[in-house]
Subunit: 298 residues, 2 copies
Amino acid sequence: MLTDQDLPAAMRQISDSVDAVFADILATPPGASERLYEAMRYAAIGGGKRMRPLLVAASARLFDVAPQNALLAGVAVECVHVHSLVHDDLPCMDDDDLRRGRPTLHKRFDEATAVLAGDALLALAFGLLARPETHADPLVRAELISTLASSAGASGMASGQMMDMAAVDTTLDKDAVVQLQQLKTGAMIGWCVGAGAALGAADADQRAALSHYAQCVSLAFQIADDLLDVEGDERTVGKRLRKDDEQGKQTLVRMLGRDSARSYASDLIDRAVSSLEPFGPSAELLRSIAHFSIHRDR
Amino acid sequence: MLTDQDLPAAMRQISDSVDAVFADILATPPGASERLYEAMRYAAIGGGKRMRPLLVAASARLFDVAPQNALLAGVAVECVHVHSLVHDDLPCMDDDDLRRGRPTLHKRFDEATAVLAGDALLALAFGLLARPETHADPLVRAELISTLASSAGASGMASGQMMDMAAVDTTLDKDAVVQLQQLKTGAMIGWCVGAGAALGAADADQRAALSHYAQCVSLAFQIADDLLDVEGDERTVGKRLRKDDEQGKQTLVRMLGRDSARSYASDLIDRAVSSLEPFGPSAELLRSIAHFSIHRDR
């Protein structure tokens, strides 16, 4: 898997592989857990850009990591991502009916099932990382688990979501919005490229370069998301748009204006790509992902 | 810590130690995450019987595990337990206003904060287990993480909660109710005594004996809970009671009658205690916990 340097082909490969792993580990067991597994499959299989598993794989490639190791780490982070989408869509959170072009989990099932399926996906992420198939060295597995817990939890994504909800109808300055995005999406994106480095026993300089890449890409990716919220087509994007304005949410696009935000995002991508220089041609896929992150219609 | 064989003293020791660890790791960081940490502390500190950390410590004692290792593993499982209480109390789940004699988290804060604080506590559990302070050998840490993920997730507690909600106003036979309880509480109780064994490198026979102990104690504990729901004092128990009848939930107490259920629980405790025979006097605390599990007023 992921033998191709071509981005669309790599994205298809990763999507297919991620779906296959999910189909395998979320096959319905006989008995009473049927509905919970069905809900988890509904949330996890056949949707999304799979940017996070792709980033793990692209980063792992720099260090000749076995593709199967990168794939399992990628599925683990996708579990956390899907978990966060399911919980974010709940009525008490963002209250969304549409996700990836289909009814959100709590609309298709019910709210209690959405809470429990999200919880079970979060637990599954750590269970996957603990498996010997993810990496032969248990110390590497423990590092992946420890950093994922920080990135997903109170010192990362969960705090970002709290700030995001508190940011409705309040005034934040640019630094605060950048900090919010760093927690909400940056920590998890940082985990993805860091996972490739951890699986491949990268040195401190390589990890620092990749961390800088991740910071720039995640912020640019978020600006592109905010632009899509303003300019995108709901059917293509597959979720409700025009929410930021409606909810009075502070975004860089609202603060800087569309053109300045676009040029800021483009500048961030230049910086991300520069930080890949030490890796030479093996970083081609990471470069493509950086450019794609701001040139996309969904 | 936990130098005393006397159960009430041991419970106080464990409660104090668990609170101290939570106060340390959930100290509010400077900045924007204040409210999330406050909510996590509200849910985690100063309440509950701490049965799960106590079971970890009592089982670890059989194998001369360092008390600090057992304490961290106990705090991890308590994170999962508190996470499940916070999510279970949500309006879309059991819709409870009172927990441990105080307003539930979503009443004191709001529903979105309850969802996120519960999520962050679940992630924290795995982060704690990944720490070298929990055990020097990363392979032991990986085993604890892998088994906790199974016990908490779709093959354990989360499925039990799904079954429990589906069991409202339906007819289950005794085997189905026992299976429900095994998933809902048994898997996590089993993890606790198994954690002591894993930390102490117990052999297969010892693990099997402890697993049998856990199965018996968790079912007896649940029967005692169901009896408290019928007979208990709301102020002492600290949560809303008489729910099972109201919601039409199948419990062993409703199916067997109070007296038969009580004698079944007592029989289970005898079996639990028998399975401790090979461990001799070092299992005194586990024996006391077994007896306490059915003789309690909260």
